[in-house]
Symmetry: D2
Subunit: 137 residues, 4 copies
């Protein structure tokens, strides 16, 4: 069973643009917070991880498909799970819904780097464990 | 020959995050402005287009690959061209470079909708023409 | 007794800048959402207000004083009350705290305009009532 | 004679909100970049300053007055000068105009801190000099 974290979002006024809908860049903020909450629920405090491990998980790939627009003050739910995890990368998959309606699907791939140099390194054990990596190819 | 528009960007302080690099969401702002400038150079004033045609070109798909980080005050150049254009969709492809170094590649796909309803419609003739649609499938 | 609304905020990664703290512009987003929640608790659904009344409450003045920085993943509380209300303007005052520590004080003044023209008009009765304007000087 | 730096801004789509105008928080981004350009014109490379001096100039106070809205694709000019400079603080004053029309006035006050601790320190000589501090109280 794949673990799914759900993260509630209330659409802010600043999140919208002159077309009257949520700007396409705003969803990256929603999905980022959803990943932080996913990790917290799986036992990884991402702030502590960065500070103590001197590592970070930068985004290396983004794929988003927009199905329907969200609007100001909508109550959205971001559902997030790990679509793929390896020693090199973890891919978080998300769906954004308003009630039953699917508004967006996203795949965000993270690598792991040593800070502050930014040199690529292996995904740490605690991240692999939190992401169910034992089953990953 | 494919037309390419180039758009210069100076990285702002607000564009960065606590990792000391440009946040992954910021590039969507850079690429959006690059598309507006692409259209302007090809004879389409996008503001006038929205106001007079009562149509808009919403983003329906985003694919970004991050190669290397940009930093505060970097002088970047966004190169943009049309990768694919049809009656239904136009895909703008972009590269972001700092000097010769490639930092990001992106593909942003737009549809056309009638405003304010948001109903999908055919890509207007002037957009097709600006995007070199005569060669599009 | 002045009514105070409290709004909880979790600091996101994107909210920070290369100095490792929350960017000074980010607080305007926090305070804006706090005002929306203030109005909701006082019986005014701001989305409905804009759509049905064809009016909006644009920000006409901002005053912020930064006392101490917030950081990624901090749990903040925004406390908001009406500092002044008249037929012409409403001023929302806010404090942002992390636990007992005061990080920011802000005063955001709103006017009322008829949309879409943007012509200044009197503050509607329901807004005045929600803001306790009967006691305002 | 007070030195004034001018910084040109093209309003982006993402800069707007559902009211069809530039969101009030966006101007803090415009004014921040205008300050960076002011300092550059006066001989201070702010990126180098942060990296070499291990200091930063955080915003400690913001005061903005909105006179008229800006809209998508407007060509704006931000004019910036030093309104007050001392050993403790520098206040940058800005006007945002669209042609002759004044849209916004702003006063942004900066302190100086030692990084990464964030401890308040005196404004460095090079900043004082760039800000015309010889005349400051």
């Amino acid at each position: 069973m794949t673990f799914r974290a759900t993260h509630a979002v209330r659409v802010g006024y600043v999140d919208t643009d002159r077309a009257g809908v949520v700007h396409h860049s705003t969803y990256l903020r929603y999905l980022e917070q959803a990943r932080v909450e996913y990790l917290r629920e799986r036992g990884v405090d991402y702030r502590r991880f960065e500070l103590e491990e001197k590592k970070a998980l930068p985004v290396v790939r983004v794929a988003l498909a927009y199905r329907a627009p969200a609007r100001f003050d909508d109550a959205l739910v971001v559902s997030t799970w790990v679509g793929h995890a390896s020693r090199a990368k973890v891919r978080f998959d998300s769906e954004v819904r308003r009630g039953a309606e699917l508004l967006l699907t996203g795949e965000i791939t993270l690598a792991c780097v040593v800070m502050p140099e930014g040199r690529i390194c292996s995904m740490p054990e605690e991240v692999i464990a939190a992401c169910g990596g034992e089953h990953a190819s």
